[in-house]
């Protein structure tokens, strides 16, 4: 007796297809990828994101300091990226070095170079302890200078923390929230959209009215009201998950609506009717037969919604109800710029904003490219 489920096993059927001598036997995802690769802006976005996410993953290694390494005597030091010297007094090329820092007036945050003390930039040097991916503990950094010298590539903030290092650590929060949030909300969206589209009727009506209310409300207000529900939160990990849960709770509506529409048309296809005739359960038909066919649209909608998650985290942290100091996030790093004097005198506090912009732009480029690639009207 043959188990009916074996007949419909996806891995079997694709396996059969690859054995058949077909010239155009490409799976939809292969076609998607081939089309995407031809889109230059989309690939630019993809590469930018790859660099950013890898940098965030190895933040501890690339950053010369830990996110909470504080030099209270050196607040608002200007960026030193342009003050790395490669020529010595005689104009000969030497190992890159920076001068020591002499504070003149800590109130005004004015400094001058101590030309008597040179601190060469070492590579693979030892410094603060860190962990990569919670696993590998180390204190070797990609680059850094010996104490008491200090290297503020993008300048320092109001308590003398290195902005460059904090941007890398902040990327871990701000960028990962986009991914984690979209995975959770896509799962919710697929379940709700699948159920609403497949069963129709009263279930569909109730679920879709919920979706409409969620889409009609200005999301940020809803997020803020929900944020109240959880109180202040104690640890940074706790706050991180509170934010992810809230955003996923709001964000699934778009996904659900797209998937519902697709499921409604897919459920009339012959293979679904066949599966039903074979006596499969509804949940199995939805999960194993219908939802995999919505895959390309799910990817497109998900990619286009990532900026919503990144920007919402930034907004929450900026408004002071997200990630708290001393933990770094791109949003809470911009808080210093709220002060008009800081913004005017020390404009490098805005640098995290450039990275938010770049990340959002890259996701938009990629999402746009994916949408064009998934569009069957464009030829492959």
């Amino acid at each position: 007796m043959i188990d009916p489920s074996k007949l419909s096993d996806r891995s079997d059927s694709t396996h059969d297809e690859t054995r058949l001598p077909r010239s155009r036997g490409r799976t939809p995802s292969q076609i998607l990828w081939l089309k995407l690769r031809r889109n230059r802006t989309a690939m630019l976005g993809l590469y930018t994101l790859a660099v950013m996410y890898v940098a965030a993953m190895f933040a501890g290694f690339i950053a010369p300091y830990r996110f909470d390494n504080t030099r209270h005597d050196l607040p608002f030091h200007a960026p030193m990226l342009t003050r790395i010297h490669v020529f010595d007094d005689q104009g000969r090329l030497t190992k890159p070095f920076v001068y020591g820092i002499i504070p003149i007036d800590p109130q005004l945050a004015t400094y001058k170079d101590d030309e008597s003390a040179r601190y060469p930039v070492h590579f693979f040097t030892r410094g603060d302890n860190y962990r990569v991916l919670w696993l590998i503990s180390s204190n070797i950094h990609l680059f850094g200078v010996d104490e008491p010298g200090h290297l503020f590539l993008f300048g320092s903030d109001q308590v003398g923390q290195d902005i460059f290092s904090r941007i890398l650590y902040g990327a871990q929060v701000s960028l990962s929230i986009g991914i984690v949030g979209i995975v959770i909300s896509t799962i919710i969206g697929m379940i709700v959209g699948g159920i609403a589209g497949y069963f129709g009727g009263a279930t569909d009506f109730a679920l879709m009215r919920t979706v409409e209310v969620l889409l009609a409300l200005p999301s940020l207000y809803f997020i803020l009201i929900l944020r109240q529900l959880f109180g202040a939160g104690t640890s940074s990990v706790q706050i991180y998950f509170i934010i992810v849960i809230i955003l996923a709770f709001i964000g699934w509506a778009t996904e659900a609506r797209v998937i519902r529409g697709m499921v409604m048309s897919l459920k009339e296809h012959e293979y679904v009717i066949a599966a039903r005739a074979m006596g499969f359960s509804n949940s199995r038909i939805i999960v194993r037969h219908i939802l995999p066919n919505t895959f390309s649209f799910v990817i497109v909608t998900a990619t286009l919604s990532v900026p919503f998650f990144i920007l919402s985290e930034v907004a929450l942290s900026f408004l002071g109800v997200g990630i708290q100091e001393p933990e770094a996030s791109w949003g809470n790093m911009l808080v210093a710029a709220q002060n008009n004097r800081f913004l005017n005198d020390f404009p490098w506090v805005l640098i995290p904003g450039i990275f938010i912009f770049l990340a959002v732009m890259a996701w938009n480029f990629l999402g746009d490219g994916l949408r064009d690639a998934a569009d069957p009207r464009t030829l492959s």
Binding site: A216, Y221, Q228, V314, V321, Q338, N340, F357
Partner: protein, 323 residues
């Protein structure tokens, strides 16, 4: 027409009830209330706190009870008194609503005034450098975070001194200004937040306008109009524009929610005293009457905005009849 208006406004009532109820439920369920914070102040008498507790039923954790004691006076037009500022909610909120309407309204005008011509130009010069430039600008506008953009604008204002760096009017001179000067001063303060808020919508409208225009321009009636000897300009403005603009009006309704959410951040950074910052402050200080009334205002603005979008659509497209 009249029945349509009445029906649409009546349909808003359940929406307002659902949204305010959810808001109230979340406020009741969230830890702590306003009294917990003032209990820590020794100068406030116990009697006063007990009286507050009784008046606003803050001791009850029953959502339905708490909602009813807000709902019933609210139906009669009484939104109560603010906890933190000793003034009626109406007096606090009306000015804020006007400020937000001014900001969002002008941002909308800004994005439409620029989006329609830019989208048309991009469509007419499709795939040429002008189209690519406009495409890049709209991508820029779509991706720039409003917080970052606002801060850049404030930096620009501070460095050049051409515009005021935040606020809604000149605090020092406001009392001695003539009405005309007050008007100019407010407009002057409005420019930068309007640009920031308008840019978000601008990008979306330009892209939509471009694709609709490309589609319209490829249709037969456009070729007929050109063949009749009409000028290119006349065909564009008289024949194509009216058809291409319909879907734009439809997404205008959808984009209102985004606009209001963006308004919160813009208001916060620019120190613009609008509804967004009012809700945010009220949420932080657990000022329930203010939160509830602001939420009602927010939903009303959305409903009325959507209604306006539908009416506009009926005006532009004679095929649509409101019944």
């Amino acid at each position: 027409m009249r029945t349509f208006l009445i029906r649409r406004l009546l349909a808003a009532i359940p929406l307002i009830i659902v949204v305010t109820f959810i808001t109230k439920a979340l406020l009741v369920a969230s830890p702590g209330n306003y009294l917990d914070t003032i209990r820590l102040t020794p100068s406030i008498s116990r009697d006063y706190i007990a009286q507050m507790e009784r008046t606003y039923h803050l001791d009850s954790n029953n959502v339905f009870e708490r909602y009813w004691y807000w709902f019933w006076p609210a139906v009669q037009g009484d939104f109560g008194y603010s906890f933190t500022k000793s003034a009626s909610v109406w007096s606090l909120i009306s000015e804020r609503v006007l400020n937000t309407l001014l900001l969002t309204g002008s941002a909308l005008v800004f994005s439409w005034v620029f989006a329609i011509p830019l989208g048309m130009i991009a469509a007419v010069y499709r795939n040429r450098w002008l189209d690519k430039l406009i495409g890049f600008i709209s991508f820029f506008g779509l991706s720039i975070p409003s917080i970052f953009f606002s801060l850049l604008m404030i930096l620009f204002a501070a460095k050049t001194g051409w515009f005021p760096a935040g606020g809604i009017h000149n605090q020092v001179m406001w009392d001695v200004m003539t009405p005309w000067e007050k008007f100019i001063d407010t407009l002057w303060h409005l420019v930068l937040p309007m640009i920031v808020l308008g840019t978000i919508g601008l990008a979306q409208y330009v892209r939509q306008m471009r694709s609709e225009m490309i589609e319209t321009l490829s249709q037969d009636f456009i070729r007929t109009a050109r063949a009749k000897g009409l000028s290119r300009w006349r065909v564009l403005t008289r024949h194509a524009l009216g058809n291409a603009i319909n879907p734009l009006v439809t997404i205008f309704g959808f984009s209102l929610a985004t606009l209001l959410a963006g308004a919160l951040l813009t208001e916060y950074v620019f120190g613009w005293p609008g509804l967004g910052t009012l809700i945010f402050d009220a949420l932080s200080s657990k000022d329930e009457p203010i939160v509830m009334a602001s939420v009602v205002m927010l939903v009303l603005m959305l409903v009325v905005g959507n209604l306006v979008a539908d009416l506009l659509l009926a005006v532009i497209d004679p095929r649509i009849r409101l019944e």
